[in-house]
């Protein structure tokens, strides 16, 4: 009897499911009528991005693009078209102009959605998010209300975000260059990357700051690990994105000096320079070393000549100590730079062979535009 009841219930349940809603029933829902915008900004975006790349630029505030936990501002109308033009001039057009392959590459992989945020994205813990890419479909640019192409720092921050996030889209679509992740495999440290953040300091150990009062990063700890920035040590994907974006937005000479290895002869030359500078120095530090040695010898009853020799010897020993430290530092950096160079060459070949994109040519075009922007030229 109990079994019969169960069967009956199941039968009724199934019957209810299949009969309770008729697919022909009309839902009492009124479709929202979509009226095409006549806003000049929307029209610009349609012409320049939607029709060409099937990309929607989200510039009006819509809270679905930013989590409610963040503090943000929408962009001012005045900067929206200018920011879109920057995207064209410093991202889209350099790819198009770099080669036929570059044109096809950018057209094929351009993200379907770009979000403009007026302010930085402030997290509740006070840190800032500069931008992000989501699943290869959306790139978010922040701080567009600060738009100023002549402000090199702002411009490079924007371009860094753009090229960093676009590089994520590339590897999310095509995977990393074969073997890239193995080169620095053991050096990736996940969220511990913050322990590698360091700042440049002067001889007194004081942190150097730029004209805005912001501390200037010292990438040495990351470079020694064969990665361009501390953030790049998170994992192979961030490493790849940081490498490509830094290569494109950094002046060629500066990139070579900072990230690429030097010869042993150059290291020796740099070490010798340190030694000679200390020997010839009249700084308080060197004079103190000399005088202390001189005075110690004097107290021992040595002659003036012997005291002078003791002072010179102390300075020489100090110079040797500093030279050895410099040598160790440069060699540690160089070992990391060799790794960076290996990954860079692999990445260049990856872009060239798979997409016919010459990264060096692309970099030169972007760099020329950055220089022209500083001069106020288009």
């Amino acid at each position: 009897m109990k079994i019969n009841n169960k069967i009956l219930f199941m039968f009724l349940a199934v019957l209810t499911l299949f009969t309770s809603c008729d697919k022909d029933d009309e839902l009492n829902y009124e479709k929202r009528e979509i009226v095409e915008s006549t806003d000049e900004i929307d029209l610009f975006m349609k012409d320049h991005f939607l029709d060409k790349y099937n990309c929607a630029i989200r510039w009006k505030w819509d809270d679905k693009f930013v989590a409610i936990d963040y503090y943000v501002s929408p962009p001012m109308r005045e900067v929206v078209i200018k920011t879109a033009e920057m995207v064209e001039d410093f991202w889209v057009n350099p790819f198009i102009e770099s080669s036929e392959g570059g044109k096809a590459f950018i057209e094929k992989n351009f993200p379907p959605e770009i979000v403009f945020i007026g302010s930085e994205i402030l997290n509740q813990n006070g840190t800032e998010t500069l931008g992000f890419a989501e699943a290869g479909v959306r790139i978010t640019l922040t701080e567009v209300n600060q738009f100023d192409l002549k402000d090199e720092k702002w411009l490079k921050t924007q371009l860094h975000t753009i090229h960093h996030e676009f590089t994520h889209i590339v590897h999310q679509t095509y995977k990393l260059p074969n073997g890239f992740e193995k080169i620095s495999g053991s050096f990736y440290s996940g969220n511990s990357w913050t322990t590698l953040v360091d700042y440049q300091k002067n001889a007194k150990g004081e942190v150097l700051r730029d004209e805005d009062g912001e501390p200037i990063f010292d990438h040495s700890p990351a470079i020694k690990r064969g990665v361009t920035t501390a953030y790049g040590t998170t994992n192979e994907f961030e490493d790849f994105a940081e490498l490509v974006s830094n290569f494109i937005i950094t002046d060629a000479d500066e990139f070579n000096d900072t990230y690429l290895p030097v010869s042993d002869a150059e290291i020796q030359e740099a070490v010798l320079k340190v030694y000679n500078e200390i020997i010839a120095a009249t700084t308080e530090e060197v004079i103190t070393i000399k005088m202390e040695a001189f005075y110690a010898a004097y107290l021992e009853g040595k002659s003036i000549e012997e005291c002078q020799a003791a002072g010179d010897k102390a300075v020489s020993e100090y110079a040797i100590k500093k030279s050895v430290e410099k040598s160790d530092e440069l060699r540690a950096l160089n070992s990391g730079k060799i790794i960076i160079k290996e990954k860079l060459e692999m990445t260049k070949a990856y872009y060239q062979n798979n997409f016919d994109v010459d990264l060096e040519n692309l970099r030169d075009i972007v760099q020329e535009r950055i220089v022209n922007a500083q001069k106020g030229e288009e």
Binding site: N4, N5, L8, F9, L12, L15, T16, T19, S20, C21, D22, D25, L27, N28, Y29, E30, R32, D39, W59, K60, W61, D63, I68, Y71, V72, S73, P74, P75, M76, R77, V80, G118, S119, L122, G126, N145, G213
Partner: protein
């Protein structure tokens, strides 16, 4: 078996009655129609104001507010104009943090859990978001950090043809930015920045006098109080006696072209509630006639209430009778609560470390042959062998060169150096040069507020003593004495 038939019958009824051909709305209209109608109604109210709306805005509780004008159209556009916002940095130097903006941008009204007004592009509200102020760090330093707030999504709490009340959609914590919009007049759109600056100057320093205090009086009432203002941060504090208890009530204000308004009205007693003060240049007063009660603020050398200090440099409250709001976590902004008047007084405290207080012995005008007018410096922290610590008095002859009710300016007589040297007991302990700081203070043309009292000499002869309150030792509390004084001088 009977149960089975019941189940079957019930199930069939449920099954065939669960869907009908047409869904019947609970209300006359569908959900979408009702939401759309609600949104349209709100838009209509916003757009129907001929000259738009005026409100007063700032993003944080620790500052007052600045005027913002808005004019909405029904097709989703709004024109926004704001007054320049200038806030001093940590060095007291004024700097513009928000220029006078005039933006035209799109907005939308939508209803989710609440009906919201969203400004879709950046405008003055977002400029607030960009303000950075120095905030303390754990190691005792400071760092430029966002001021906080800067809302551009508001819940429409109430929308009536003459008043719209908006509340921040995203503010977290107890303080929610509220923006009350009232219908603007055409002339409101012509911000006269110079006039606003003049109104600010008047509110800060007084228009035609160098008097410190703004005494408050209420027509027909026995009321004692004064106003303290920090116009940079748009903060005002109303100090008054309420049944012999000092009330000290801070209020956020906004400076207008003709005076100032309170963000939250202040109820002083059963019938007196003030919200707006208009400046009258002719007699240098502010007046309010809110609720039909005439309240006047006029400049005076006589403070309505004195307590010292109100909030000390560490932000602690002075005594249980002081009813004030103080958030020590925003210490870098507490200037907004302690008034400039207070600092004007306190600057004279910065005397030598050992100076305890100064008594001023006024010559009895009815007895010209009596003791000359002198200032007595009372030092402690001086070690005088073999007695150890003890108080030391030094009499300095001064000349009264201006006397106006209770305010007076002194001039030290040329022989003040001799006064030090003539005091045989102290001549080796006090360097006359150490009085240079004091001289600078005493010759300040702004004068001092004085507390007169009657003392008796050893022979029983009364003489007048005047205490300069402005040079008091920070440890001395004056509340009790001043209450007595105020009562005696009514």
């Amino acid at each position: 078996m009977k149960n089975i038939f019941s189940f079957v019958l019930l199930s069939l009824v449920i099954t065939f009655s669960a869907c009908t051909d047409e869904f019947e709305n609970t209300f006359d209209k569908s959900l979408e129609e009702r939401v759309a109608e609600l949104n349209t109604n709100q838009v209509d109210i916003l757009a129907d104001a001929e000259y738009g709306w005026i409100g007063y805005y700032s993003s944080v509780e620790t500052m007052g507010a600045w005027p913002v004008l808005m004019n909405f159209t029904k097709d989703g556009w709004v024109k926004i104009k704001n007054q320049i916002v200038e806030i001093p940095d940590e060095y007291g130097k004024l700097f513009t943090v928000i220029p006078g903006l005039s933006n035209e941008l799109s907005y939308n009204v939508n209803t989710t859990q609440t009906t919201n007004l969203v400004f879709e592009s950046g405008c003055v509200f977002n400029a607030w978001h960009a303000i950075k102020v120095n905030k303390p760090t754990a190691n005792g330093g400071s760092v430029a950090a966002p001021l906080g707030g800067g809302e551009f999504q508001f819940i429409i709490k109430s929308a009536k043809p003459d008043c719209v009340i908006l509340e921040s959609l995203t503010d977290k914590g107890e303080f929610k930015t509220e923006l009350i919009l009232r219908k603007a007049k055409e002339e409101d759109w012509f911000f006269d920045q110079d006039k606003t600056a003049e109104m600010k100057r008047v509110l800060t320093d007084g228009a035609t006098s160098d008097k410190y205090f703004r005494a408050i009086s209420i027509e027909g009432k026995d009321f004692q109080g004064h106003l303290r203002v920090d116009s940079d941060f748009r903060m005002a504090t109303f100090d008054y006696l309420d049944k012999d208890v000092i009330k000290s009530i801070p209020r956020r204000i906004a400076i207008t072209n003709d005076g100032f308004v309170l963000m939250d009205s202040l109820r002083i007693d059963e019938t007196t509630q003030v919200a707006k003060f208009i400046y009258n240049q002719e007699n240098d007063t502010y007046t309010s006639e809110d609720n039909g009660v005439k309240t006047k603020i006029e400049y005076s050398n006589r403070p309505g209430i004195i307590y010292f200090p109100f909030v000390d440099e560490w932000g602690t409250k002075n005594g249980e009778n002081v009813d004030c709001t103080m958030d020590y976590s925003v210490w870098n902004l507490y200037n907004g609560i302690v008034s400039n008047d207070f600092y004007k007084l306190c600057k004279t405290v910065a005397l030598s470390d050992g100076l305890r207080n100064i008594d001023f012995y006024m010559n009895n005008e009815k007895n010209p042959s009596g003791s000359p007018t002198t200032i007595t410096l009372k030092y402690n922290k001086l070690v005088l062998p073999p007695f150890g610590y003890r108080n030391i008095n030094v009499d300095i002859p001064v000349e009264v060169i201006r006397k106006e009710k209770t305010s007076v300016t002194f001039k030290l007589k040329d022989d003040y150096r001799k006064a030090f040297e003539a005091d045989i007991e102290n001549v080796e302990l006090i360097d006359p040069e150490s009085a240079s700081e004091l001289i600078e203070v005493l010759t300040d043309e702004q004068g001092f507020y004085l507390l007169p009292d009657i003392y008796q000499s050893g022979s029983g002869e009364p003489y007048q003593v005047v205490l300069l309150i402005s040079v008091a030792n920070p440890e001395i509390r004056f509340v009790t004495e001043y209450l007595e004084f105020l009562k005696s001088t009514k």
